[in-house]
Amino acid sequence: MWSKKSFTTAGVCIAVGCVYGFANFLSGKYYLPGCNFAELRPQVVLPMFMGVLYGPVAGFVCGALGDMLGYTIGGKGPFFALHWSMANGLMGLIPGLARYVGARPVDAIAPFVRLLILLVLASGVPFAFSTGVEYGLGRVPFHEALFGFFLPIFITDTLWAFMLVPPMMRAAGLLISRIEMRTIQAVYYLLIVTVMATWLSSILITMREEIQVEELYTLGAVTLIVLIIGLAVSAVSSKKITAPVVTLTNVAHRVGEGDYSHVAELRTIGSRPDELGTMATVFSDMVRSVEKREEDLRQEVRTLRVRIDRKKQTADLEKITGSDYFKTLKQKAGNLRRRAGAEDS
């Protein structure tokens, strides 16, 4: 049986699918240069985001349903291009795998890279399939399938996804700004916005000056490859900057819990000639002295120390032994002992 939550999820997916379909209907009026089918569709991020948010089924329903709705509004009927609708569904389904491949939530570079790979796959694989169907059915020659269908869609959808999905995830609380993410995000958005701007400019120039579309999309593909390489490089360098901080934080956490055994992990960081190296060395020294102080304290607690005020003791003793009662008692006890000793011998 469906729970209330399932109904809500389905309702949101269908509603977003409707928005997606209507946006498709609107954007369908303006095709990309050299295309009679592909267009600038920032709305592709909607099914992708639904997938990330609610899972692969939700992403598929949103993408496929929205695409069919777009055709319906355009008067072509829901089954106008079923393989393209399926491709749109797959475009939502693939990012829906995020939770299964450790790309949700995004709180470090590794899950972020996994998310970007999913977005590239979501923009490429489904449309390779639908373009393949077009070519397979003999509707378009290979050249047109590549430059009129696949590449324009793949390049633009990837860029839209790269640009819009991460901020949407941040808004939904699925992208957490830990130090690794903060380091890579500045470079990431700078690169994406620059590449997107260049890409859109190239499209405009192509439309006005009628440059060969093959050149445009080849340029686009190269740009995309360069972008991916750039992101990979920035991911690696960000990781190098932030890894020591992450290690330091983890060790600090453990020290906070009373576990000093991981301080040795800071030795490698301590050998760095920069500020992080200094920080690791200072932290290690600090932890070592805290550990020693704690051990000393523990030893102190375990060790009994008896302190006696001997002066007071002597004064108190004199008070007791100086009394007449005590003197008499001592004498009596002495007599008794002597008598007992005599009887014994």
Partner: protein
């Protein structure tokens, strides 16, 4: 001189033969009263209250009785009696208390209650008699107000040993160093000073040990009780022995099981194989040796 030496030799030979034939002769101890029974008087004392003195007295008495001895336990803590609870005695079970004896209402042997049943049959030939102090508030108030003749107490110990044919008399004293405590210490063959590893106990324990030394008590030992589990018991033993220049009979850690009994049973009977009982046995042995 020669006569004395010969006498000593024959006595040693006799004791050796007796040991071979009948076993441990250590029951034969010297008594200050020098009577034919020659009972061993052990005072259990602490300068402050709450050290576990009464519990220790009760357990030592039980251990001696389980060893086949006739043991008397006398509660001289007249101002705040408590050991009767450990032996399961209520106010209604006490016909005459130590107070009655001190006020001339009865003989000392009339105050003795046979509490051997608490040993649950684990005392072949042994017996425990308790001489309780009164728990009646008016009686306690009267003692505090009027006092009593200390010499009667001394006579009472002697008469009790004779009447009940006791091998051991354990005196559970009142904390502090008042006249009856000094008397108990003075007439004892052995004194066990109970202390906790606690700053509140250090000074008073020191004073007690020095006073007992002045009174020439033949055997004096310290029992460290309720030691926190974080402490190193061996280190505590050494430190206490060095500080007070006095042998340490035992060091007993704080025990949840003992606390669980809430002074309502005798630990040595209930947990006969517990490490604490083993330690108490060592203490009992050391006090008699």
């Amino acid at each position: 001189m020669d006569f004395c030496l010969n006498l000593w030799f024959f006595r040693a030979a006799f004791e050796g033969a007796r040991f071979l034939l009948f076993g441990d002769p250590s029951i034969e101890n010297r008594s200050l009263f020098g009577n034919q029974k020659m009972a061993h008087i052990i005072s259990v004392h602490s300068f402050r209250g709450g050290t576990g003195k009464s519990n220790t007295s009760a357990n030592l008495a039980a251990l001696y009785a389980m060893d086949g001895l006739r043991v008397g336990v006398i509660d001289t803590d007249i101002q705040s009696p408590g050991i009767h609870v450990i032996f399961g005695l209520g106010e209604e079970d006490v016909a005459y208390s130590l107070n009655d004896y001190l006020w001339g209402r009865c003989t000392i042997e009339q105050t003795a209650c046979d509490v051997s049943s608490v040993l649950q049959g684990a005392s072949p030939g042994g017996a425990v008699y308790l001489i309780p102090s009164s728990v009646n508030a008016a009686d306690i108030a009267r003692v505090l107000h009027d006092g009593y003749d200390i010499d009667l107490l001394s006579d009472g110990f002697r008469d009790l040993i004779r009447a009940l044919k006791l091998d051991i008399l354990v005196i559970d004293t009142h904390p502090g160093l008042n006249e009856e405590t000094l008397l108990s210490i003075a007439i004892s063959n052995a004194l066990l000073v109970v202390m906790r590893p606690d700053y509140q106990d250090y000074q008073g324990t020191g004073l007690t040990v020095e006073v007992a030394r002045e009174l020439d008590v033949p055997r004096m030992m310290i029992l460290i009780n309720k030691a926190p589990s974080t402490f190193d018991l061996e280190q505590i033993r050494r430190t206490v022995a060095d500080t007070y220049n006095c042998p340490v009979a035992g060091a007993i850690p704080h025990s949840e099981e003992m606390m669980g009994l809430a002074s309502h049973h005798i630990f040595a009977v209930r947990y006969a194989n517990h490490p604490i009982v083993t330690e108490l046995k060592q203490v009992a042995k050391a006090l008699r040796s």
